[in-house]
Symmetry: C2
Subunit: 427 residues, 2 copies
């Protein structure tokens, strides 16, 4: 096989006929395959069965707090210590509240907009409209927070080492209405890249470079310990870099146990400088009389001293699925030279770039044969991939055999859409 | 003993001397008594020890949902059914999300203000400022939500049968900036009254009478099943009344298991008309990828079919504390005719009204002898009791012997402050 771009019209037509026939056969199989969901599979969830034994009648935290009663807004000390381990910060920097880091992100953005994040008069809502930088492709739920809050999104290119910091810095320095940037610094959703030490240092300094005096780096470290290749790849600690740069109250870190224990049944964490931690804690005190500390105690006891071992067990289950994705992409698309894709060392996603203009078509073809893929465009603000070329593959939830079947079908659709396009161009 | 108002100056001076001496003795005891907290006591929390056994390796809801994974924003069917039992509505009317009804109240108010509660253009934030009716004395955390959101509070008098509906209706009908009313309809915080059927019917119709077309009744049924006198006192179901009045999307009900199982370690519930339920669910989908369904399953299994029995066990523990409060108030203050108080049949509070101008002084005297009472004024918006006379007594958290000691001390302080005032007036 050679690069598809070199094929003659009749060769392409023969391939199109063959692929169309294969797709027809697949349709006959009435498949129901799904690569949309960044969810742990049941065997991963089973790894946390010990959680349910962690209380064993003892509801008292190490400091004597009765976890069953109200209070302790910032979370139990042992839960904050767990968050500190995930985020590479001190327990004092951490709030543990709720089951969802997304909720804490929303709370932070809401404070920045309306209530004030620093106990002073600064409010994003005074900009018309406030804007945030969105490295693309990125995480659709960050975009949703912005859309729901009428924050305009300004795209920044992603590189293999994180966002293009030259572009991000220029944009932030030029426009005082640009109030922040969204980051998934380790195993970025969806490209899987890890921000380089240089990128982290520049990011910690970005609030100093921004024209806005209320600029915030939203550091969503959702996959902090989710390596499946070892030795683990480290991420530079941004909070200590921010302290050196004097920006620690303009960097907010997030993490959760959603893909460590139970998705939605775990703990959400936030970390930042002392002022922001105090302000967010005060806000959480308006929203609730405290977090679910029983679940905090359960998690702290279950994971204490064995987080690494626990995540290694996840890696064992996840890695073969990512290998299957990579192998199918390489064997089916590699020599044709019609796509490029990420080969992450951890996290939950593979990012697949195909030829411009084809992602929606591939989505249609796949759906017609019973394969759901993440809606093309979802990795861009407003659901708008300007080149219509990026696809996000989420292989963790499906069984390995289904991942293999799904990838065969997906690559078939990519080939067919590409041949169609090339023939159209030649016609 | 006779009414204090009939006492002569020398009698009063003798009593003052005696009370001052008693208070001095109490100070010597270095007490640390606390009647501030509407929290369950440890023996009440122990009643829910069975929660921790409710999962027993089976994480699947009745409909087959794996409680350990993402999704199911409105909550598991069995958890919604539990909420329906608490709120006297159908499971379809219910959202079960998070550990705190307060968070759901905040989310509702935030939507009404900014995002829209009915998928149309109505926004409370267009009023300058928006206002809400606050029956007083009332619950300080409702006031905090308003203060944090810059909603002005307009007081309405409480009667023994609920808010003064004539006053509430007149205010709402006159001022289009009045956007809602806060209610604790059963065992109201702090007066303990239960809204009468007439009051509930008028409340369900209030959105029709209001000048604002976006008026909302916030129905915080925190003590729905928290009777300690039997037979239980029923509360008229407002949602069905609202459906008859065509206002079901202008009435939002809240409940939680905070004082049923674990305070903060339980479930929060919201119920309303279908439009509001759909809108709030969509909002919760922007804030999270779903609630903690493992805890939902735990609660639904633990409480299913035995809620009544479980609450009766709470009543056994709570009732003697309320009796001690009532007995001490009657024996120490009754014949002097210097105070009036509520005698609730459930809930968590007793409301004590003393002579105008004395609540702060009683708070000072009590604190000087080691007794913390809820900050005088806390039961009014902005912490401002215009008559400085209402005190909230929360007897559940302390041990029975401490409740008795605390009530002796509190009534001593009430007597002393009243004598001081009466002597000042006579001087």
């Amino acid at each position: 096989m050679s690069a598809l771009s070199t094929w003659t019209k009749s060769e392409l037509e023969a391939l199109q006929a063959q692929l169309t026939k294969e797709l027809g056969l697949q349709k006959g199989n009435r498949l129901a395959l799904d690569l949309t969901r960044g969810k742990p599979a049941a065997d991963q969830l089973d790894l946390s069965a010990g959680l349910d034994d962690a209380i064993a009648g003892d509801y008292f935290a190490a400091d004597g707090t009765d976890a069953r009663n109200y209070g302790t807004l910032a979370g139990l000390p042992e839960a904050r210590a767990l968050g500190a381990e995930l985020m590479d910060v001190s327990a004092d920097d951490v709030i543990c509240w709720g089951n969802s880091s997304l909720t804490l992100m929303h709370t932070s953005v809401d404070l920045a907009l309306h209530g004030g994040l620093w106990e002073d008069g600064r409010r994003w809502s005074r900009a018309h409209p406030p804007k945030m930088l969105t490295p693309v492709p990125g995480y659709d739920r960050h975009f949703t927070i912005c859309e729901a809050a009428d924050i305009e999104m300004v795209n920044v290119a992603m590189t293999e080492h994180g966002p293009d910091m030259q572009q991000a810095t220029r944009l932030a320095a030029e426009d005082p209405d640009i109030k922040g940037i969204w980051c998934v610094p380790k195993f970025s959703n969806p490209t899987g890249c890890i921000y380089s030490p240089e990128c982290v240092a520049l990011m910690a300094d970005l609030p100093n470079k921004a024209a806005a005096d209320d600029f915030v780096v939203m550091w969503d470290n959702a996959y902090a310990v989710h390596d499946f290749q070892f030795p683990k790849t480290p991420l530079s600690p941004i909070l200590s870099a921010a302290r050196e740069a004097g920006t620690e109250n303009h960097v907010i870190l997030f993490a959760s146990t959603s893909k460590i224990t139970y998705a939605s049944g775990g703990l959400g964490f936030l970390a930042s400088g002392a002022n922001v931690v105090a302000r967010v804690t005060r806000r959480l005190g308006q929203l609730s009389i405290g977090p679910d500390k029983v679940n905090q105690l359960r998690h702290a006891r279950f994971l204490s001293g064995r987080l690494e071992e626990h995540m290694a067990a996840h890696a064992e289950l996840i890695k073969p699925k990512f290998q299957a994705v990579e192998e199918t992409l390489a064997s089916q698309l590699g020599e044709l030279d019609i796509a490029s894709w990420s080969t992450p060392k951890g996290g939950y996603f593979v990012s697949l770039d195909i030829r411009p203009g084809l992602a929606s078509r591939v989505g249609e073809l796949a759906a017609s044969a019973g394969l759901n893929i993440t809606r093309p465009g979802a990795t861009f603000p407003y659901g708008n991939d300007p080149e219509d070329r990026n696809l996000r593959i989420a292989p963790t939830f499906a069984a390995l055999s289904d991942v293999k079947a799904a990838m065969q079908l997906l690559t078939l659709c990519v080939k067919l859409a590409t041949v169609e396009q090339q023939l159209g161009g030649q016609a």
